[in-house]
């Protein structure tokens, strides 16, 4: 049974490139949260920007949050993975540059071209603006996404290269010799296993993404090059759903690396762990049809498989990773600080968020809940309380001034404000789904829908106020973040 070497002393500080990624991520996160607040204020009728602006902001909020999660997850994965394999700093920098270039194109397409085709850019909507966005806006948006996708594709090619150079092949890096043979105690550490899974699924997803983006760009300039809308939708969801899903699997590396340092207990790459990550590799790549359950034209077996995989993909999350977090903390004497609070609550968020997700993956339930507010309800739980909490936990870990540093009351209060606010905010969405409120509607036409919108708006204000505390704290502590020293408070004996 392989054990993760859980107390490397001193803990490595972040490279400038990782800090650059984090600063980029939190800036985008804050901006997109403000955009999200504007959307909910519009629903609540506390604010009026009009439907044209609503859909433009909605497009930016969606694509911006996916990009933010991708950049933040990549920063966490790269920071820890470079301890085991030889990653290229040049490729890491190129990905950031392409991300920035893509963001500029997307902002231009929305603010100057009025593009409002949603982050899902479903074919053939980009070529059917009905006069609401300029002709050049769609190529700018799709081109921006293509640049970002190429950057990430290069990044995962590099992680694949580095992992193969160290472990021989991807199967070994997933621990297959130990999973399917005797456990010789030489399985790769959790960080390598997780990074390998993410590398595999994202190379496939990004290949799909760059293909459909290129096809749609060609279609914009040569409309006779028509695309099957059903094929296009499947490719877009394989790309987008897999990519956003993978960001949690990247960010959870922070949990695998940091909680063992605090609890002085190993997070082991045993057979169950390896089996769950191999299963996740297959399931994350193939579960996307649960977003296509209302496309009856798909082969029925694909849709049934979508439901079955939706159900099975909850098992590794709850039974292995969520349960593992409870186990490592139980009677550990852990000293709770902002870092460990966030990392622990992140696995609660991930485990709880998959529940409304897999329920909505039931075909007969999806029939009356698909594209209602239930959908943003479930993913805001596991992305905000899950993935974003992992990001904040990592930021507090990097910036912790010394091993025994105490958190200020303001930070602790902000943590609870963020946690309660996110739960309340997400439940408001889920409640809207229960009430059949359609998703992606600029105007909420029924007066009965407004109370939940207004409650959600209040929770969003609370969340943003708390996030400002985390961001300011991280910026103040940028200096220590780059240095090598022991950060984790050692667990106390009874």
């Amino acid at each position: 049974m392989a054990s993760y070497p859980n107390t490397p002393i001193p803990d490595k500080g972040a490279k400038v490139s990782v800090l650059t990624y984090l600063i980029t991520a939190i800036y985008v996160l804050l901006l997109m949260m403000i955009f999200g607040l504007l959307l909910r204020l519009e629903h609540a009728q506390y604010f009026s920007m009009g439907e044209a602006w609503f859909y433009k902001i909605m497009t930016l909020h969606g694509v911006g949050m996916v990009g933010m999660a991708g950049i933040a997850g990549a920063a966490i994965m790269w920071h820890f993975l470079r301890e085991y394999v030889d990653l290229s700093e040049g490729i890491f920098a190129i990905n950031w540059a392409l991300f920035l270039a893509g963001v500029i194109l997307i902002l231009g397409s929305v603010f100057f071209g009025n593009f409002a085709g949603a982050w899902t850019f479903l074919y053939p909507l980009p070529s059917h603006p009905m006069g609401t966005w300029f002709g050049g806006a769609s190529p700018l948006f799709l081109g921006g996404l293509l640049l970002i996708s190429i950057g990430f594709f290069l990044l995962y090619l590099d992680t694949a290269r580095a992992i193969i150079a160290r472990y021989g092949n991807l199967a070994r890096a997933l621990g297959w010799p130990q999973l399917f043979g005797p456990d010789d105690g030489k399985a790769p550490p959790p960080t390598v296993v997780a990074s390998t899974m993410v590398t595999i699924v994202n190379l496939a997803a990004l290949l799909m993404g760059t293909s459909i983006l290129t096809m749609m760009l060609v279609n914009l300039f040569a409309p006779s090059f028509a695309i099957d809308p059903l094929l296009a939708k499947g490719m877009i969801y394989m790309f987008g759903h897999t990519f956003i899903n993978s960001t949690i699997y990247m960010a959870v590396i922070a949990v695998y690396e940091i909680l063992p340092r605090y609890t002085q207990r190993p997070w082991k790459s045993n057979k169950v762990f390896l089996a769950s990550w191999t299963a996740a590799t297959v399931m994350v790549m193939s579960v996307f049809p649960h977003h296509l359950l209302m496309d009856y034209a798909y082969p029925k077996w694909v849709l049934v498989l979508g439901q079955v995989l939706s159900y099975t993909s909850t098992l590794p999350i709850i039974v292995v990773t969520g349960f593992g977090a409870m186990m490592i903390v139980y009677r550990s004497g852990i000293r709770w600080d902002m870092c460990t609070r966030f990392l622990f609550v992140s696995l609660f968020g991930w485990s709880a968020g998959v529940i409304p997700a897999f329920i909505d993956g039931t075909i007969s339930i999806n029939y009356v809940m698909h594209n209602t507010l239930w959908v943003p309800g479930h993913f805001h739980i596991y992305l905000m309380l899950g993935m974003v909490s992992m990001l904040f936990g990592f930021m507090y870990y990097l910036g912790k001034p010394h091993q025994d540093a105490q958190d200020s009351c303001l930070d602790v209060a902000a943590f609870w404000g963020f946690t309660v606010g996110t739960i309340g905010f997400a439940l408001s969405f889920l409640y809207g789904g229960k009430e059949s409120v359609p998703r992606r509607w600029a105007v909420h036409i029924m007066p009965e829908w407004l109370p939940a919108d207004r409650i959600a708006s209040a929770f969003t204000v609370l969340i943003i106020a708390c996030v400002l505390v985390f961001i300011v704290r991280f910026i103040i502590r940028m200096g220590p973040s780059g240095r090598d020293y022991t950060r984790a408070s050692i667990a106390v004996a009874a």
């Binding site: 098992l315 075909i363 009874a494």
Partner: protein, 175 residues
């Protein structure tokens, strides 16, 4: 259905919260012998795994028995009334805007331009059925309207500026 889904989700999420809360509350009083904790926890985890496998397996079999993709086997109510529905940016075009209560309806849904989603809302504005409206494809909803009154068809797939205004009314009356 939606009510049941809401309560089941809340209960299951509360159970997850209880598990994490239990671990957090009992995180003090360090036990140095982690292997003893692992041994007990692995037993519990195995139980949890099989409980989930059985529950999810049973639910899978239960819910896959009746899929909305197929017409109901019971044809005793007579032949279905055929209605063609086509989505345009930003309106619905229906071949018929009324139907008799309790008469089966076969709603053939497609689109003339971009992707739309046809959601059927009952007179209380609860979603009772839906499918995607995609250019080049026809999806069929088999549904029996069992409430008299005015139903609404709403667009449930984002289709541009007036997506939210893509609503049409549909009357269900006495036979």
């Amino acid at each position: 259905m939606q009510q049941m889904v809401w309560y089941v989700s809340l209960v299951l999420m509360a159970l997850v919260m209880f598990g994490f809360g239990f671990a957090a509350i009992n995180s003090g009083n360090r036990v140095e012998d982690y292997s003893s904790i692992i041994k007990r926890a692995y037993r519990l985890r195995t139980m949890l795994f099989w409980v989930l496998v059985l529950a999810l397996g049973a639910e899978t079999i239960n819910t896959l028995r009746t899929l909305p993709y197929y017409a109901p086997r019971d044809q005793s109510a007579g032949a279905a009334q055929l209605i063609e529905a086509k989505g345009y940016q930003w309106r619905w075009e229906l071949s018929l805007d009324h139907v008799a209560k309790n008469q089966p309806v076969e709603l053939r849904v497609t689109s003339a331009d971009v992707n739309h989603g046809l959601g059927i809302y009952d007179p209380d504005m609860h979603l009772v059925a839906q499918t995607q409206a995609m250019p080049g494809y026809t999806n069929v909803i088999n549904y029996t309207f069992n409430k008299e009154g005015t139903y609404k068809f709403l667009c449930l797939e984002y289709c541009g500026l007036a997506h939210h205004a893509m609503i049409t009314e549909f009357k269900v009356g006495t036979p």
